[in-house]
Amino acid sequence: MTAAVSALTEPGAADGASSPMQRMDRALRLYRRRISRCRTQNQLNRVNIAVENYVTPAEVRYFHTALAGEPAESPAYQWITRLARGMPNNIVRPVEFERRGLCKGVTHYSANPSSAAQKTLIIGFTGIAHRLMMPTPWVLDCLNPALYDVVLLRDFARVAYASGIPGLGGDFHTALSKLSTHLDRGAYRDAISFGTSAGGVPAILAAILLSLDKAIAISPQEFGRVAALLGRHGLSDTAYASLLASRPQPFPEVLIVCAAEHGDDMAAAASLQRRVPARVLKVRGCAGHVVLGWQHAHGMLPPFLAKILGQSLERQAPASTALAASWVVGSSGGPSPQPTVARTQDHPEPDPSHAS
């Protein structure tokens, strides 16, 4: 988050004292005020990026409608048009995600907190850009808010969450323990950590620490790189190494996703797989680090998310990975019934520490 838009993104955005419409209107007024102060394109980009990192699909639609009267060449119009057009489904749902900042580094997206038993909790560990490889509303737009709650964590110190999360605690363990007091993980149907890039290893660590059902790490860094980063900042990697080497039972299912044509990321995935029992899913044809962005650009983000989550994004019934993927592809209205998300290679390997 940048200070430029802190008022837009600060904790308590959904304060309960105002309606969703009032809150969206307040956010829009703040946005207009912020961009009116921008003097360079970089300042404008900074505001827009920060807003993209936080807002919900409903807020995007609200902004899009409100800014529709702006001149077509205005930066605000061009930005919101690109953001709105990029929504993978762009469905107006009976219930919508609302955004609430639990504290500076934690944003909770939920439609109805009273029905957690029907929901999957996704704890998102954003990377260095404070997003899950794409604007947050694009990810949220793929998920049925009746079935998912999302908590996004942000690492402002950019040290793989080792210096904690602002508002929760000054180290990884303390921050996640405190997070557990805000979220009743046990009330949810299941809970999954989901980390991208620099958030990949922390997502795996969190799943082990919090006994989550599953960890998904997209293009994670190899542990040596994380350890080197911590070392450069005078932080010890001991706690991370111990946690990664621990094998509490039941151990979470760990899925590492990487681009099959990206050498560094493939090496990082293989290296991590030697440290922790995990499956590696290689995305064929993808040469970039930003795997989710690649799936989005190919129109395949919803089925790909269903595949890696191992469940439908839209329906309650638990389903196998294959069923979930084929259902989503079949219902997406896409031109081909072929489950192109299957253009991946799955590489399960036994836990090396158990091999002997």
């Binding site: 970089n42 990377g127 260095i128 293009s219 790189r225 990206h262 990321d265």
Partner: protein, 94 residues
Amino acid sequence: MESSRIRMAVFEALTIGARSGFNDERRRRFLDEGVNLLLADLDMDSLGQMEFCIAIELSTAVTLLPAQLAELASTDAIEQCIREKLGERTENRR
């Protein structure tokens, strides 16, 4: 602004904008050996380019735009561009 501070500004901006492409080996060579890195090798996506330019503007007060990066193409050219813009600014103040 000294050349070393400009180079550090570029370094910090790359850590934010280039993310995966600015790996440990390239970081070491950039800082210790003073190598010139080609942006094409750094795997910067459009967001990364924006973040890079924002970081440069915040640390040097020089405005570089994402659209200029393709033309500049390398870290040496970016440093040179920043030096020139800062030099022009100093001249204009005299």
